[in-house]
């Protein structure tokens, strides 16, 4: 699984190789595109993000205050992220995840994970 995704990720990164790979596994290519959430001004941006299963999401703290990325159901949880620290989590299975910052609970975000291969 991860090797396949890595190949697909390379396919995106290297356009000269992309044509053949994308033709073979077009949906896996979409799933492998890493996603990024910026933390700034006491907000997660984008606040809601829809991804395909298998996608790795990276949160980057660009704020002056430290923040955590904590799933409401505690499936994933970061330590306290200082300014410029980041945290990554790979969403293997579909579902909807509401997360927040335990240091500032009014900061809430959502990740919607669609099945890999769905559009």
């Amino acid at each position: 699984m991860s090797n396949k995704l890595l190949v697909a990720a390379l396919a995106v990164a290297l356009p000269s190789l992309a044509f053949a790979q994308v033709s073979a596994t077009p949906m896996a290519t979409a799933a492998a595109t890493p996603a990024r959430v910026e933390i700034n001004q006491m907000r997660f941006e984008p606040t809601s993000l829809t991804i395909a299963a298998g996608t790795t999401v990276t949160w980057v703290n660009d704020d002056e205050s430290p923040h955590t990325v904590t799933d409401r159901g505690r499936v994933f949880r970061s330590s306290a992220l200082d300014t410029k620290d980041s945290f990554s989590y790979t969403f293997a299975t579909p579902g909807e995840f509401t997360y927040f910052c335990t240091l500032h609970p009014m900061m809430v975000g959502k990740i919607v994970v669609k099945p890999a291969g769905s559009s």
Binding site: A80, T102, P105, M106
Partner: protein, 324 residues
Amino acid sequence: MPVTKEAIVKEDVNLTRRRALQCMAWAGTGVVWTIGGGVPRTLGLLGEARAAEVPKGQLTFVQISDTHLGFKQPANPDPAATLGEVIAKINALPTQPAFLVHTGDISHLSKEAEWDAADQVIKAANKEVFYIPGEHDVADVDNGKAYLARYGKKTQGRGWYSFDAGGVHFVGLINVFDFNPGFKSAGLATLGDEQLEWLENDVKGLAASTPVVVLAHLPLWTVYEPWGWGTADAGRALSYLKRFGSVTVLNGHIHQIVQKVEGNLTLHTAASTAFPQPAPGSAPAPGPMTVPAEQLRKHLGLRNVDFVHGKAGAPALTENPLAA
């Protein structure tokens, strides 16, 4: 004769920002409060000599809070230095406290190095210290495991405890776990059923005349709901304490002094030793507030708590800022 002033807290049942600012203004002048029967009186303006007039032979302790070792933003690039100044002020008190209480956010990022740095500075006071965690102390990836391993050895559950000193019953409550995501009341802190049941049992056998001091990080009343400055199930905790003649609740978290009286319950948030935060609603969001460097120390300080016999077991509180 001490200046007598029937004061602010008496009519402060409905907290407003204006009243909070008045409280802070009084705190800034360093007034010594004696609270008896819910009606505060001042002993006199704070000076070394006046403070020394507090009768000897009773329990005296000091509250510090929100030291945030590891913080390095412009609001205070060196919180170890300002903590050091607070400790020096404690060491210069004419009546030495029996111990210190720290109402949480010892560290900024729950790192051992930050707690080590706090220890290095605080040990200069040469006093026993009773700690409770702030949310910044349980922000490790295991949500408090590091704090509890280091500070929680003699505690119950997730860090709560009680002890007795000088005839006063102390309770350390933990309200920095189990936050829920959301705005308004959803984002408030909680104590939780297990801890509340423990509290009910802990105080059940005590005589109503026993003075009680409660330590917690977030306020045990809702100071400002939009910023999560409150504890959703605090009312249940306070209901177990209402029968006592004197209950003093000491909080941190909001980095400013706000007081409230409810019958025999007096609730006090404390100044930080690191940096101030904005008054409720005065900024788009809570967080470190950068003030001109020469004003920073007016916002930082310690609180002295003296128990005086013959005053219904209630303590005199002294707000002691680093700069007047």
